[in-house]
């Protein structure tokens, strides 16, 4: 028997991005799974708000290896979030986003503008102007960025209604490398914050949700698990647990021990 969801996890606490509500706070990538069937099962197990997708040249080895992906997307019927992965210039990003809009018939775009191929660090100096151009073109932009407060604030200033700071470099699975900056970001910005990239364990996802982040986007941590389907479910549960913990208000840590069990009436106890 399935227990009903507690109130803080029902539709009243939906993730709202650009005015659109999502029941789940997990966004899941679709790459690097052992097989399309495992991907489909992982999506079913975790019920993500959106799944990320991409574009590559027709006829390339990548595209040929994904020849059945379009049919699988239609079958899964989960909202898609196209990315601009691999783009190194604003012009590449804009053309890719516009192509994605036509192919996937969506205005959502995960803005990736890579500044360094080794770390996959975003090009923070050109990210803001690129986001602004896309927003003026009607896109709902979810920018992949660092946890830098000023960068995130500038993205909000140009119209981003949510931002997606990394926890660690893409695919590393290291978990949050700079909790101080991430908590500061949460404290300073009021827009939805989704952690994108660098999570490796459900406990990482749970932690950032406990800090008040609004959702997580991850791929490799699920896809490269020995059992991606079970790991997808584990991440979904961790995101829910972290959200519930955030909403319920955690106790403040104490410096000294405090007995949980009442002292008064303890047998054999007497005041010395």
């Amino acid at each position: 028997m399935t227990a009903p969801l507690p109130n803080h996890l029902n539709s009243a606490d939906a993730l709202v991005l650009y005015g659109e509500s999502f029941a789940s706070r997990l966004l899941l990538g679709t790459s690097r799974y052992p097989s399309p069937q495992v991907l489909e099962n992982a999506v079913q197990a975790s019920n993500p708000a959106m799944i990320t997708v991409s574009l590559r040249r027709q006829g390339s080895s990548t595209a040929e290896a994904h020849s059945g992906f379009w049919d699988l997307l239609k079958k899964m019927a989960v909202p898609v979030l196209p990315n601009t992965a691999g783009c190194h210039s604003p012009q590449e990003v804009i053309a890719t986003a516009q192509m994605a809009r036509e192919v996937f018939e969506t205005n959502w775009i995960k803005l990736e503008l890579i500044g360094d191929d080794y770390t996959l660090q975003p090009d923070t100096l050109r990210l803001v102007e690129t986001a602004q151009t896309l927003i003026k073109d009607g896109f709902k932009v979810l920018p992949y960025c660092t946890e830098d407060l000023i960068l995130c604030q500038r993205l909000v200033d140009v119209g981003c209604q949510a931002v997606m700071p990394w926890a660690a470099p893409i695919g590393t699975g290291q978990g949050p490398l700079n909790p101080y900056a991430m908590k500061l970001l949460r404290d300073r910005l009021k827009v939805p914050l989704l952690v994108d990239a660098g999570l490796g364990l459900p406990s990482h996802a749970c932690s950032v949700m406990e800090w008040g982040f609004d959702g997580v986007l991850l791929n490799t941590a699920v896809a490269l698990a020995e059992d991606p389907v079970v790991m997808a479910k584990a991440f979904a549960m961790a995101v829910d647990a972290g959200r519930a913990a955030y909403l319920s208000g955690a106790m403040k840590p104490q410096a000294s021990a405090q007995a949980s069990t009442p002292l008064v009436g303890t047998p054999f106890w007497h005041q010395s």
């Binding site: 574009l55 992906f69 890719t96 516009q98 192919v103």
Partner: protein, 65 residues
């Protein structure tokens, strides 16, 4: 004239349009097209003239993170 489609050179007649190139490479739906890094909507494929040395990208959905 010479055009480059997904990094492969092709000789096409003068006054060719994008639709001609899509037929030439047997493009499979779904796809989208950019010429010289500018997106060209599908409504313009049959009337967008190509020029010598145009760089044409024909892309298709794949998995992504």
């Amino acid at each position: 004239m010479r055009v480059i489609v997904n990094q492969v050179e092709y000789e096409v007649p003068n006054q060719s349009v994008i639709s001609d190139v899509l037929s030439l490479i047997h493009a499979k739906q779904p796809y989208a097209v950019a010429v010289n890094m500018h997106f060209v909507p599908k409504t313009n494929h049959a009337k967008h003239p190509l020029n010598e040395n145009d760089q044409i990208e024909v892309i298709t959905p794949v998995t992504g993170g």
